[in-house]
Amino acid sequence: MDILIQNLINALALGGTYALLALGLALVFSIMGLINLAHGELMTIGAYALYFMILWAFPFWLALVGALLCAVVAAVLMERVAFRPVRDASMATMLLTSFAVSAILQVAYQNLISPRPLPVAMPSFLGGAVEIGSLQVGMIQLLALGCTAALLLLLVWVFRYTAFGVAMRAAAEDFDTTRLMGIRANALFAGAFALSGLLAGVAALFWVAQRGSVDPLMGFLPVLKAFIAVIVGGLGSLVGAVAGGFLLGAIEIALRALLPSDLLPYRDALSLLLIILVLLVRPQGLMGRRREGVR
């Protein structure tokens, strides 16, 4: 029973990180039609910012804020410098652009910072575990869970009740018509990227806290997973991306916890197989709609 609950927490924590990343990807995709392969590098920027600010002896909370800020600024800059010039181009052009941005950033991290992992020591009050009944839950895991939940709730509020949020939802649904409402396209792009940068930054904090080091390629894998989550959730659906993230986290943890050791090496293949099964039953993804009324 304890193992089950603990693994449930593991699944929520891992899935939550995937969900944050997937939401950022989906947001940018639905507004701009861009699959941002450089999303992972935003995560890495946030992680490096945390590393350096801790190294330079900033107070820890300031380092956290700084890391988030760096990820947001980097995201906005990325849109302004790399993606705005190609925004009317074909999807393939935008995809290649994002691929190039990703490759350039990775090489820059390798050459300007370090090709190898740099250790990030979390302050001791974040270490260790908390006893909840008969359960031992890691402090960082607990914080990650709490923050993810709080952030998702905050986003629900923003998307529902603020002018910015409503405009984002509208733009995700139908970009051209949103412009016909007099809402500035550039503001929408900048907003989408800023938000996706924030989400990547938060994910980076959890990721670094859980794995203890930062390296130039650290963003690749989680974003690949997040991308799968976006597809499973339904390309273009924000709620779907979040659901897909949690589903993927649950599948991964379940397979790793339940598979007999002979089958463990096949866990990634099995998890992809399960994903394909989901897509066979629902080709449009969990929450995807077949688009209608669009020229």
């Binding site: 939802r169 018509t177 016909l180 409402m181 007099g182 396209a185």
Partner: protein, 235 residues
């Protein structure tokens, strides 16, 4: 108020508009008629800055070509797009709120809501409902109401009767008539020739990307050419 001259639009090698010129005077309801594929939607797209176009477009002396749609809306011209294009995942109220996004003044926005709700009482009843769950006629009303929220001087309507039941079409045309009566300038794009000319002051007939005929509503209604323009393409 709106003056268009030599408007051209091309999609790759295909020329969709071959130099369209038209005028809309203050307080007028002008109908732009034509069969499917004549270039009506392209004309509106070009006016709103949604597609690249050549020629000249002036709104009260202000050149519009090359400007972004969001800027044009702020200059006082709004489009109700073909197929309604309401945000189905948003509530009626949220749709209207987006329509009024250009209104910075809170009092003006509240006045706008009141006006729109007075004109479309059904929308007030449904304000909390998702727009996607409305009927076709209600969605069309919402699309018009949403456009009005920006407080336009000139309203562009793209095929508001498309896909609606005859009874609902009556309602929509009744509404357009009332809007005109309230002093709003309207450019109405339609395939429904008879109904449009009943309420319009003047009209243009667009075939194959060119204006082939222009005149007052009465003249056009009696014109054999109008009938032929449609029949010619239909047969």
């Amino acid at each position: 108020m709106l003056s268009v001259s030599g408007l051209t639009v091309s999609y790759g090698a295909v020329l969709a508009l071959r130099g369209v010129s038209l005028e809309v005077g203050r307080g007028e309801l002008v109908a732009l008629l034509g069969p499917n594929g004549a270039g009506k939607t392209s004309t509106l797209g070009a006016l709103m800055g949604l597609c690249r176009a050549g020629g000249a477009v002036c709104l009260d002396g202000e050149a519009l070509l090359g400007r972004a749609p969001e800027k044009i809306v702020r200059l006082g011209m709004t489009l109700v797009p073909e197929g309604r294009r309401v945000f189905g995942g948003l509530t009626v109220e949220e749709n209207l709120r987006l329509g009024g996004a250009v209104q910075r003044d809170e009092a003006a926005r509240r006045r706008q809501y009141a006006e729109v709700y007075a004109l479309f009482p059904v929308l007030e009843e449904r304000s909390g409902q998702l727009a996607g769950s409305l009927s076709g006629g209600e969605q069309q009303q919402l699309a018009i109401a949403r456009a009005l929220m920006s407080g336009p001087r000139l309203l562009l309507l793209d095929e508001p009767s498309l896909g609606l039941a005859p009874k609902v079409v009556d309602t929509i045309f009744g509404l357009i008539d009332r809007l005109r009566a309230s002093g709003l300038t309207i450019l109405l794009v339609e395939q429904n020739v008879d109904r449009s000319l009943e309420i319009a002051d003047r009209g243009y007939v667009l075939v194959g990307g060119e204006i082939v005929l222009a005149g007052t509503a009465g003249e056009l209604l009696q014109s054999q050419d109008v009938q032929r323009a449609y029949l010619g393409l239909a047969s």
